[in-house]
């Protein structure tokens, strides 16, 4: 496996389309992009992206007014399981744009900003497969994993062997965030963005999330 930094250097030099050089430049200060993809399945080799959503974060402000949400038509038929999870039918997806049209727009939206996500590695892997195919690069952006920020605030000082719950639901509950209807790419990206601003503030103020046998703490509305 080639390390990401090495790939990044390689792509910076080998990039086919020079108009995407901005992806390698630093984004505006204190800006981030929270992303989430809904896919036909969990196999990062075979499955396809159905929807992709991204929302910018500037400081503590989540710029929902500048969101990016696209339905993309997968090249392979959707797995029945994915339909159950995302409530998107083949017909809905066919109304979407072709991925080919989506990627340039997506890359321009994201720019050089760090990406924020939950289980981000999977999303990035899915995106990379497409971007590499169309533009000849993989996403060079720094990546911030909210479950890691959460782990650090909650379990960072925990004795070894402590049982960890890093589920999306657990994070929302601990931070006292509203649960928007899940498995909608935009709502997931928005909730991820909320987690990010809240966790970042806790770290800034040196506040830890309390560990209790049962029940949440450091609720946003304590």
């Amino acid at each position: 496996m080639i390390p990401r930094w090495a790939k990044r250097l390689f792509h910076q030099v080998s990039i086919g389309d020079q108009s995407y050089r901005f992806m390698f430049e630093k984004g505006p200060p204190d800006e981030f992009v929270a992303i989430d993809c809904e896919t036909t399945g969990l196999d990062r080799k075979k499955d396809e992206i159905i929807t992709i959503a991204a929302v910018k974060i500037r400081g503590d402000r989540i710029l929902t007014s500048e969101r990016f949400v696209r339905l993309a038509r997968p090249e392979s038929a959707m797995a029945a399981d994915a339909i159950k999870v995302h409530h998107l039918r083949q017909a809905d997806v066919e109304a979407g744009e072709r991925l080919y049209d989506v990627w340039p727009e997506f890359l321009h939206f994201v720019g050089g900003r760090p990406l924020v996500g939950y289980f981000l590695e999977f999303d990035v892997a899915m995106i990379d497969r497409n971007v590499l195919r169309f533009i000849g690069i993989e996403l060079p952006n720094p990546m911030i994993e909210v479950s890691e920020l959460y782990y650090e605030r909650k379990y960072g000082d925990a004795p070894p062997g402590t049982e960890c719950d890093l589920t999306f639901r657990a994070i929302l509950k601990d931070l006292g965030l509203p649960t928007l209807s899940q498995h909608d790419a935009f709502n997931d990206a928005l909730m991820t963005a909320m987690m990010f601003v809240a966790l970042r503030d806790l770290k800034r103020r040196g506040v830890r999330i309390e560990r209790k046998r049962d029940g949440p703490r450091v609720d946003l509305a304590h």
């Binding site: 402000r61 929902t64 909320m194 509305a221």
Partner: protein, 599 residues
Amino acid sequence: MSAVFDASQPPFDRLTEAEIEFLQNAVDVEYFPPGATVAAAGQPCANLHVVLKGAIEERDGDEVVAILGPRDAFDSRAVVQGTMTRSFLAREESLIYQLPRDAVMTLVGKNDRFGAYFYLDISRKLDEIVRADEEARFGTLMRTHVRDLFIHPAHFIDSKDTIEAAGHKMRDINSNALFVRDGARVGVITGMNLSKAVVLKRMSIDEAVAPVTNYDVVTIAPDDFVFSALIAMTKHNKRRLAVKEGERWVGILEDIDVLSFLAGNSQLTAGRIDRASGIADLAVAAADVNEQVRRLRRQGVKADVISEIVSDLNRRLFTRTFEFTAHQDLRERACLVVMGSEGRGEQTLRTDQDNGLILSESVPETMLQEFRDSFTQALESFGFEPCPGGVMVKNPLWSRPLADYVADFRSWIALPQPESHMNVAIFYDAAAVAGRAELLHEAKTALIEMVRGERAYLAHFARAVDAFPSPIGFFRNIITTEGAGDALDLKKGGTFPIVHGVRSLALEHGLHETHTVARIARLVELNVLKAEFGRELTQAFQYLMSMRLDSALSKTPGTSSLTKPAELSSMDRELLRDAFGVVKQFREIIRRHFNLGVF
């Protein structure tokens, strides 16, 4: 499109799908750590904020004036005015929806109901419109159309006409604004525009009105609601709106006419009665009296003040009607009286007629009959229903010489029948409204003299306080037996026992007051009632009267004194229980005082 913002809460629930979509695309979400300033006083207002999560302190200087939680919006006033007047601080970790002021103002301009939330706030009416019962409270405002208000008829001049001509025209039509036609354009010119042109701009009165005409005319349709007119005036800062129906210019609506509609202007009605030049004019004014009651009550004016105003207006109406219908010779020999609740000054909504005429001596029968007919006809044209018991001028028994009345008193007292008790009660409550008031005073003095010391008679008279059972049961439960078994009659169980018990005590002590509240005050002075109890009785009476007025205003005629406790707020139910408790106590006092146990 995914929804970021929950638009189901007021005032956003007034927006259309497209408008909500517009807002969804403009909204951001911002995170504030504890102690962070969300918006500071004195700063330009950039956003309308809605709390998504957390708690926000609203501060006036250093003082916390409110704590806002999820779904609370702030600060609608600042959105309209552009500057924050209060500071808002995060009390804990908070997420706030930020709706850009520009976007909100765009919607305010497009959607009147949404705009109403912001504009009416300034006139302190916001709270009411936000509440779930906005229909009930704002019903009249919401349902009344512009065409129901007074609109100055449209009068046109040409833009080439002179300032002088415009001034003369305004005087001729007794209006302060004219439409100005300039080719296809139509503008408005006001008296103030003319004055400013001449005084401040030193224009000659021979110059054309065109340069001082205002072509930025805000129009409204006759079918629009009054609240839209109010909003349009506030929003565009206009004192006048042009009323336009399709392509037709109907007239000009002035702010003073909207305000007098909203405020209820009883002086206006009183003036109309005083200036009336005939029965027809009085009929117009009479029609306004009932509408006044609604307006005053909507403004939160207390029921006893309303009855005072209404009684005054009705008495003026009778006085003038008497002047128009009674022959000079008759007027010099008669006293017109109103009786029953009208006489006590406890009338709110118009009920039926209760009136009579006391003559000092016999008058020619034709003259008297002529008056009876024309007076009755006039009252009917005002919408006064005839009295079912025939207590009216029309009935010869209630329009005759003083001596005949006094002779009847004797038989009423000697033969205590229910009907004669009613006659005594009605007459004892009479008040003079026109003609020679001393005739009534003389009659009442005679009545009082006759019952003085007649314990048995007075006890008989007072017995009616027990005519209806008290609607209070064990454990102070309210018993509902009226209507479909879920209502109670405020008059039978509440106001009637008070009025009649007080009347019995007043008659016994020879009082000349007619108001129940004034009688209670005199009875306290005479040590008949304890001061403490007198106060409680007065409060209970006034509370029951206001409940009656409210149910009369909201319900179908004929059921006006019924109220359904289940529809009341818990505070009103509690007050109602207290009031009935006082009534129960008062009945006990009356029973003991007149020794009613013997019956």
